[in-house]
């Protein structure tokens, strides 16, 4: 039972990170119907930018708590802005010129952009992985293993709490953004019918750009969380995280924001429980099999709308 609880906590944490990345996929897919293959690498870029800021500003665990929190918020904002700029640039250079072109074209440029980003970071930051001293240590011990000390120790660390809290807050914020603001309305309009939206005076290009910017900003949050949680990153983390986040987006129903979050949580849980109870080596196989099974039996996902074939 204690073991289960610990896996549950870990799974929810991992799932939150996947969920944050998945939102970027789901928004972009919803609005222009393409898999933004480079999104996983945007997440990786976000993690690197956050790491560089943390090291450059000399943020360490020895700072007083209040200062540490303020510094982390500053890092978060700065890396969100910069990663968003990367996301915007990728969209501007690789996707916008191909709007209205045939279906495969943007997917190929997306793969190209993904390879380019990965290797750019490998060259500029080196191929070795970057270990970061833990910034947030400690946590609550929910179960100390019983009186005889033979049970399993269950811990809920502060960084896990932070990740879950930030994810929840961002989720609420973005749901409000999509449902209440004019930008969100424009996005939903573009999602339904791009031509009609542009006839009604919505700047479609700008809306799409902003979608990419928002997705990239969320991915950078995920990057920082990943960095704080695992404490080590390399240039290759984007690929697997990207594919799994896409799986999460599909599982939850592509185009649906709560769906992406739900899918992320499920994928995180499946992966953690699989590695906890079966085998660590095959955890990726488990996640990918889920993807295949969901797509085959329930292509519209858990919370998605079924796709209507139009002639």
């Amino acid at each position: 039972m204690e073991y289960f609880l610990q896996q549950l906590i870990n799974g929810v944490t991992l799932g939150s990170i996947y969920g944050l990345i998945a939102i970027g996929y789901t928004m972009v897919y919803g609005i222009i119907g393409m898999i933004n293959f480079a999104h996983g690498d945007i997440f990786m870029v976000g993690a690197f930018i956050a790491l560089i800021f943390i090291v450059a500003f000399g943020i360490t665990a020895s700072l007083p708590v209040v200062l540490l929190i303020l510094a982390l918020i500053a890092v978060l904002v700065a890396s969100m802005a910069l990663t968003a700029a990367w996301g915007w640039t990728v969209e501007r250079l690789a996707y916008r010129p191909l709007r209205g072109s045939f279906r495969l074209a943007p997917l190929i440029t997306a793969i190209g952009a993904s390879i380019a980003l990965q290797n750019f970071v490998q060259i500029s930051q080196g191929a070795r992985n970057k270990p970061l001293q833990p910034l947030i240590s400690g946590g609550f011990t929910l179960s100390d293993g019983g009186a005889d000390g033979e049970g399993f120790i269950v811990q809920l660390s502060y960084s896990q709490i932070l990740i879950i809290l930030v994810t929840t807050a961002l989720m609420i914020g973005f749901t409000l953004l999509i449902s209440k603001t004019s930008l969100g309305r424009a996005q939903r309009a573009c999602e339904q019918d791009r031509k009609m939206a542009s006839l009604l005076g919505i700047n479609v290009d700008r809306t799409i750009s902003l979608t990419f910017v928002m997705g990239a900003a969320l991915a950078s949050v995920a990057g920082l969380m990943f960095l704080l949680y695992y404490g080590v990153i390399d240039f290759y983390i984007g690929f697997l995280a990207g594919v799994k986040a896409f799986t999460a987006a599909v599982l939850g129903g592509i185009g649906s924001l709560p769906g992406a979050m739900l899918g992320g949580l499920l994928i995180g849980l499946i992966e953690t429980f699989w590695s906890g109870y079966f085998s660590v080596e095959y955890k990726d196989v488990a996640a990918f099999s889920i993807l295949a099974i969901v797509l085959i039996f329930m292509p519209e996902g858990l919370l998605g709308k079924p796709e209507v074939e139009k002639v």
Binding site: T109, K130, F288, L295, I296
Partner: protein, 444 residues
């Protein structure tokens, strides 16, 4: 005129400055500050500042954008227009299609002898190796072209079948001692079998979903190969894979070898030349089969499927079977190529079957022009040749490769050869090349 050119310069400068500023923002962190494990800090990260590199990168962006603005984007007479007239247009391609194919073929057949006479046995080895590599990718490209180019199904996990072929041969040779010539058809059949197994459930999916499932499948195969240590050797791979023989004659020194039987002096280059012809013939068979299949009902069904799946279904074409045959055939040729890869290398490991391989093969097909057989050849020569040419710049070539994929796609979204001859025409009418703009992409 001068006012206009002044204006042009001002606008271009402004635009280039904006680009430079964005580049400055983007590069200042990722290039300007390198997080490196410093030796003095006890394993902690330190920052190494490199502002000169940032300045260079920003200058390149600024200068590049300025030149592009002045001469291409905003100019009255873009230089690309003049350059573009040299690019193959539909009209120029008609004779090209007629003569280029035989020409390419003659060149390909004569290549080993040309190289031998030019560089000698020792010097030509590296060029022959490169030719073998390029031809392997041509074959893979043609195999994938059946799936992506003809049937319009986007497959991002093609390398899985390549891996199945390679491992089938390696394992059959290791456990049962089968020779290459027995394993070659078996590997193809096994790969096709896997194609069907994978195909059955997922082929109901459309477009991008299919792409992502095939990608996942490719990764699953790789992870299994990596972790099933007892059977596949895991990350160590399989080594000592037997070499192919020439109708039972081995390429070895002394009695009973290939050179001995034909009264030649032994040279290691014989085997390389043999391997080259082997893959050339395999690739040509792939091409031949594809071209013939295009004319059969199943080939026409593939192309119809690519153009419009719903119309296909309403005309009574069994879309599942059509997709499955395309998938299985593409997989089979991937399997053939895989077992050739295994026998050429003599060593395989999961390292060789990563997603990047799938991306390279898909890029060859798409950049060459979907459905164009000659386009695949050109793209394979350009990409793999260029790839090896820049081997010295090991670090940068993948970056350049990624950027090239973006640039070529933006420049020519339909690929380098974007016209194709119709498979069938009304009797009496002359076959005319169809411009790519007229060819709708299906939804797979």
């Amino acid at each position: 005129m001068s006012a206009k050119s002044d204006n042009l310069l001002a606008v271009s400068l402004k635009d280039a400055a904006a680009g430079g500023l964005i580049a400055l923002a983007l590069f200042s962190v990722l290039i300007g500050m390198k997080a490196e494990v410093a030796s003095g800090l006890g394993g902690q990260l330190g920052i190494e500042y490199r502002w000169v590199a940032v300045a260079i990168a920003v200058a390149v962006v600024f200068g590049g954008r300025l030149l592009l603005n002045l001469f291409v984007w905003k100019a009255d007479k873009p230089v690309t227009e003049t350059a573009g007239s040299f690019m193959p247009s539909a009209k120029m391609l008609a004779p090209l299609g007629k003569y280029a194919m035989p020409l390419f073929l003659i060149l390909a057949v004569a290549l080993p002898f040309l190289l031998l006479s030019a560089y000698g046995a020792r010097g030509s080895r590296q060029y022959l190796d490169l030719a073998i590599l390029v031809t392997t990718y041509v074959m893979l490209g043609w195999g994938l072209n059946i799936v992506v180019g003809l049937a319009g199904l986007l497959d991002l996990g093609y390398v899985a079948f390549y891996a199945v072929g390679a491992y089938s041969y390696a394992l059959l040779a290791q456990y049962f001692g089968f020779s290459f010539w027995i394993c070659l058809p078996l590997a193809g059949i096994l790969a096709a079998f896997w194609g069907i197994i994978l195909g059955f459930p997922v082929l109901r999916l459309r477009g991008d979903y299919l792409a992502i499932v095939t990608l996942a499948f490719g990764e699953i195969i790789r992870v299994v190969l990596l972790n099933w240590y007892e059977f596949t050797g895991g990350p160590d791979g399989i080594s000592g894979i037997p070499r192919p023989s020439f109708f039972g004659l081995e390429f070895k020194r002394g009695e009973g070898g290939f050179a001995d039987t034909f009264g030649l002096d032994y040279s290691s280059i014989h085997r390389i030349i043999f391997l080259y012809y082997l893959i050339l013939i395999m690739a040509l068979i792939t091409n031949f089969v594809t071209m013939r299949l295009r004319k059969l009902p199943v080939g026409r069904a593939w192309e119809a499927l690519r153009e419009d799946e719903i119309a296909c279904r309403s005309l009574g074409i069994n879309t599942t079977n059509t997709k499955l045959t395309a998938f299985a055939l593409g997989a089979m040729f991937g399997g053939f190529a895989g077992s050739f890869f295994a026998t050429r290398q003599g060593f395989i490991s999961p390292e060789s079957f990563t997603f990047i391989e799938s991306a390279v093969i898909l890029a060859i097909v798409v950049l060459g022009g979907l459905g164009s057989q000659i386009g695949v050849v050109i793209a394979a020569i350009v990409m793999i040749g260029g790839f090896e040419f820049f081997r010295g710049l090991e670090e940068y070539r993948m970056l350049v490769f990624g950027l090239l994929m973006v640039v070529i796609m933006v420049w020519r979204p339909r690929g380098l050869i974007s016209t194709r001859n119709p498979s069938i025409t009304l009797s009496g009418k002359k076959a005319k090349g169809i411009s790519a703009d007229l060819v709708q992409e299906g939804h797979g």
